[in-house]
């Protein structure tokens, strides 16, 4: 019988141990983990609060120190150093502001597990703020852009230029029309100014790209001066592809883009590759293809920012300019080896960047691993293949953008992109040559005039597949366009009429290789006299414009080339300094009214209750003054005591004035022994001067003086009594002597003044 019992006990023990272990594993351990997490959470919160509070204090202290340095440098005329310290103050204030935010919002929100809430404030908000456009109008030092009205601004890129949206005036529009560029409603002006922080190398680089951009008709206008360079492009509305990508992934399922979104993305890439192919066939290499430089409007993607545009056949040495992750590392290696541009196929680097863009859009991330980057989100195998092929080694990638475009088109045209195998792609089937030629033939019919598809961005065609719609007809040399003909009706007044007739060939547009040269139109010429007059008028107008430009810019050019002007940090420092000065003056310099002075002095001593004498501790207790029978009576204090006063006299005077103030009287005039040059008591000094004038040369203790003063008091509504303090005139007493003259305000007032005078002189007598 013992056997089964022992067995049961053993079994029970085993079960108990197992249960205990399970209890420990699944209850106790998680519980302790939870407690540990909670404790850690609390300590993280407290630690964060303390850390940021200390950082805030440190930032404030540092800012104050910097403020003194700013002031010191301003005083000694070191403006650059002052600006430097001003920027440091800006940094400290920014750090302090961030600390305040974290102390008040960030840490408490995290403590309450509201991480998602603060993520928006801490990540998205700064990103959006950083990407905000600059000032809507160029600074005064930058100057205006003649012929354009600035209507807004765009966020600047990494090139250092400022971007303004502008509308050309009628004259400029007419000039564009003469060049064969129509429908220019708004333009983007990219401006580089030495006054706005642009550097000379940036200006040189951008102006170098200008020649290339002009070939494609991307630049409408430009101007180069010793301190400024700008060029004008068409305005392409829309959002950058990087932002569109974020929005797409925000709406997409967690595993990646949906089929419809993939279709949309492939459409954008189709637009991009079509544009790149036209660039390359135009002999140019964009060199900075990235999502931020691709503007999506409607169903089209437009490539912008040609600051790095380079002729493929250029004899210059390769440079490493570009954007990391979208720039082929092989380009950097070649540049380091000193390879010339014409020795490589620059188009292939744009193809690499296009592959990187496709990766970034599908993956919502940068291809940080270069050609080895792996797409981890939902993506057709054929698209992965296209990305790999585009980002493959220089010799193995797509030879042209057109070849890649064929593959992208093939996948996008498929009903189910996931069903497309890489082996089915045109480039794998060996049809790329034919396809490329087909694309070329198709594109040959189109000419690159004006900005890249900007006009059809305004009129998207919804019935066309995204990205694969052939660009709308651009103005070409083969097309006959009507130029408005101006007919002068009155030569004296300058009146004229515009009649749309006379088709002419556009100037400055490239001529298609196979297009037949149009017959030169017959232009009806004006009489020689009229032509001469018109030419003179144009020359005169051009001269006056040039004179205005030169006259307007001359002072600016003579200004300092190095921008060391006042920055917000300097302004903050100066403001703080002024605030401290004003506070110091209010506290220590400006004496204010005598009542305030006495109040300050009396409060410094141990003041008593109303009606009792606030006598300093060293003086014997004295009888208190009875309250004044006149409410708000005004006593003008006039002192003949010569400063400096000894401590005892000063103490007794304070006691007297304090006692008078405590009876409800308003004391006016300068406090004996105080500085008397403050504007605050100018009116009281005028009163004192008036009473002195009224007294004249009569001795103060004479009846004439008393009569004169009382007469003055009777006539003056600004004082009810005059307390005249004089030095003792004989050796019988020590300390000043007080005399009190009162206006006729009734018997009570006169009686009170006599008793008050006795008390006052008792206090003043040692």
């Amino acid at each position: 019988m013992a056997g089964p019992g022992v067995l049961l006990v053993l079994l029970g023990a085993v079960v108990g141990i197992v249960l205990l272990v399970l209890l420990v594993m699944y209850v106790v351990v998680p519980l302790f983990k939870g407690i540990g997490w909670l404790i850690g959470h609390v300590f993280a919160f407290i630690g964060g609060e303390i850390r940021d509070a200390l950082r805030l204090i440190g930032a404030l202290v540092t800012a104050v120190v910097f403020a003194f340095l700013v002031i010191a440098n301003v005083v000694i005329g070191r403006w650059s150093a002052a600006a430097h310290f001003g920027r440091a103050i800006q940094g400290e204030m920014g750090a302090g502001g961030a600390c305040i935010y974290r102390v008040l919002v960030g840490h408490p929100a995290r403590f309450l597990c509201l991480n998602s809430l603060v993520d928006g404030l801490e990540r998205r908000l700064p990103e959006v703020v950083a990407a905000a456009p600059t000032a809507d109008t160029p600074s005064r030092r930058t100057g205006k852009f003649e012929g354009y009205v600035i209507v807004g601004s765009l966020p600047g890129g990494g090139s250092g230029g400022k971007l303004y949206v502008a509308e050309p005036d009628e004259i400029r529009r007419a000039a564009f029309a003469r060049q064969g560029i129509d429908d220019v409603d708004q333009v983007v002006i990219k401006s580089f100014s030495l006054h706005d922080g642009s550097s000379l190398p940036q200006i040189v680089r951008e102006s170098r790209a200008l020649d290339a951009a002009k070939k494609l008709g991307l630049v409408l206008d430009h101007e180069l001066t010793p301190d400024r360079f700008y060029y004008v492009m068409r305005f392409v509305p829309g959002e950058p592809l990087s932002l569109v990508t974020q929005k797409l992934h925000g709406r997409a399922p967690a595993e990646g883009l949906s089929n419809a979104q993939l279709h949309e993305v492939l459409g954008y890439l189709g637009s991009l590759l079509g544009t790149l192919d036209r660039y390359h066939r135009g002999g140019l290499w964009h060199k900075d293809v990235k999502p931020d430089n691709i503007i999506v409007h409607g169903r089209e993607a437009h490539l912008v920012d040609f600051g790095l545009l380079t002729p493929i056949r250029s004899a210059m040495t390769l440079t490493t300019h570009g954007t990391e992750y979208f720039r082929d590392p092989e380009l950097v290696r070649m540049a380091l080896r000193g390879v010339k541009v014409h020795q490589v196929d620059g188009a292939k680097f744009d193809v690499y960047a296009a592959g990187a863009v496709l990766y970034a859009v599908v993956e919502n991330s940068f291809p940080a691993h270069g050609a080895l980057s792996q797409i981890s989100r939902r993506c057709p195998e054929a698209v992965r293949w296209i990305v790999r092929r585009a980002m493959a080694d220089y010799d193995k990638r797509y030879p042209t953008a057109a070849t890649m475009l064929e593959d992208v088109r093939f996948v996008a045209a498929a009903a189910d992109p996931f069903a497309v195998r890489p082996a089915e792609l045109p480039s794998m089937r060996g049809v790329e040559g034919d396809a490329r030629h087909a694309v070329q033939r198709e594109e040959e019919e189109l000419v690159f005039a004006g900005a890249v598809a900007a006009s059809h961005a305004r009129h998207p065609r919804p019935d066309a597949p995204p990205g694969f719609a052939p660009p709308p007809p651009q103005p070409t040399p083969t097309q006959r366009r009507s130029r408005p003909r101006v007919r002068v009706t009155n030569w004296w007044s300058g009146e004229y009429v515009v009649s749309p007739e006379e088709p002419v060939r556009a100037a400055g547009t490239p001529r298609p290789r196979q297009a037949p040269r149009p017959a030169r139109p017959r232009v009806r010429r004006a009489p020689a006299q009229q032509q001469l007059a018109s030419a003179r008028a144009r020359v005169e107008a051009a001269r006056s414009r040039a004179a205005r430009r030169i006259g307007g810019r001359a002072p600016a050019a003579e200004q300092a080339r190095f921008n060391n002007g006042v920055n917000p940090g300097v302004a903050i420092a100066l403001f703080l300094f002024l605030a401290v000065c004003v506070a110091f003056a209010l506290l220590f310099v400006a004496p204010g009214s005598i009542s305030q002075q006495i109040q300050r002095r009396v409060m410094a001593n141990a003041s008593g209750a109303a009606g009792t004498l606030p006598i300093p501790a060293e003086l014997p207790p004295l009888p208190a003054l009875t309250p004044s029978p006149i409410s708000n009576g005004r006593v003008l204090v006039v002192s003949d005591l010569l400063p400096p006063l000894d401590d005892d006299t000063r103490t007794r005077l304070d006691a007297v004035l304090g006692a008078l103030g405590a009876t409800g009287l308003d004391l006016r005039g300068a406090a004996p022994g105080a500085e008397t040059d403050s504007e605050a008591i100018t009116a009281d000094l005028d009163l004192a001067a008036a009473v002195r004038l009224a007294r004249g040369q009569a001795p103060l203790d004479s009846p004439d003086a008393a009569a004169a003063i009382e007469t003055w008091l009777a006539a003056s509504p600004e004082a009810d009594a005059v307390l005249w303090l004089t030095p003792a005139t004989d050796g019988s007493r020590q300390g000043p002597l007080a005399r009190l003259f009162v206006a006729p305000r009734g018997e009570d007032w006169t009686a009170w003044s006599r008793s008050a005078l006795d008390t006052i002189n008792a206090i003043l007598t040692r």
Binding site: L336, L372, D393, P422, M428
Partner: protein, 249 residues
């Protein structure tokens, strides 16, 4: 004792061969950045980390002439010590700026030549350095192999696609897939051996492939294990790069 490849590479660096320096930057830049970020502990921003990692290589350029192979330091330690020196220099500079003074010149600590324990290298760092060598080898193979061959290897090994699916996707037979895989694998073995030789100063470093499941002898190797080890290292390096990229955003 340094191998001839290491000596040759150091000679290129000493000769200020820009391509060699870029190669070093490309290969070990992410590792140095990750280590500097870890050391910085949030006190230094990503941009500063990038600057410091470049300064690390610049300091490497200055110190390479003083390299003494007889002291027996590892390549990874060498790299780490320079990074630490640059970081310490940056911290000194910041402190000096806070005190209102100029930049204080810190002397380059040559203690790295003695060994790695004092520098603070840990297993994660050593694994990252080794991973960077394997990644460099993969890149090299990608350059020299046919695009389709490497794509097959990539799909099969790095992406984990089955051989049959790879064959269907590429439009070739499965034996062809196996044959091309073997071709790329052999090339990868050679390149890993070269990379390890080039970027290793000690015998312990040269033995790292075997310890990490990468047997470089094709006659004795287990191909599946080799592929698995390569894939694991590849994904680890990709995570490292992804963190680097996220920090940059």
């Amino acid at each position: 004792m340094l191998s001839s490849m290491t000596t040759s590479f150091i000679a290129r660096l000493r000769a200020n061969d820009q391509a060699a320096w870029f190669e070093l930057w490309e290969t070990f830049g992410p590792v140095v950045r990750a280590q500097l970020t870890r050391w910085g502990g949030g006190r230094i921003g990503h941009e500063t980390v990038r600057d410091l990692s470049q300064e690390t290589l610049a300091a490497l350029s200055d110190s390479i002439d003083r390299y003494d192979p007889a002291r027996g330091a590892r390549f990874s330690t060498w790299l780490l010590a320079i990074a630490k020196h640059v970081l310490g220099d940056e911290m000194d500079r910041r402190m000096a700026m806070k005190r209102g003074g100029g930049r204080t010149a810190a002397s380059l600590d040559e203690a790295w030549m003695a060994g790695s324990s004092a520098i603070g290298a840990d297993d994660a760092y050593e694994a990252a350095v080794f991973g960077a060598k394997v990644e460099a080898a993969i890149r090299q193979v990608q350059k020299e192999c046919d695009f389709t061959d490497f794509s097959i290897y990539r799909m099969r090994v790095l992406d984990g696609t089955s051989g049959k699916d790879v064959a269907v996707a590429i439009g070739v037979s499965e034996p062809t897939v196996s044959r091309r895989l073997a071709k790329v694998r052999d090339a990868l073995r050679r390149r890993i051996a070269e990379a390890v030789e080039t970027y290793s100063f000690t015998e312990a470093e040269r033995a790292e492939p075997r310890r990490n499941g990468l047997d470089l002898d094709p006659n004795k190797a287990d191909d599946a294990l080799f592929d698995e080890a390569v894939a694991e290292i590849y994904h680890r390096q990709m995570d490292l790069r992804r963190m680097d990229e996220q920090a940059a955003r």
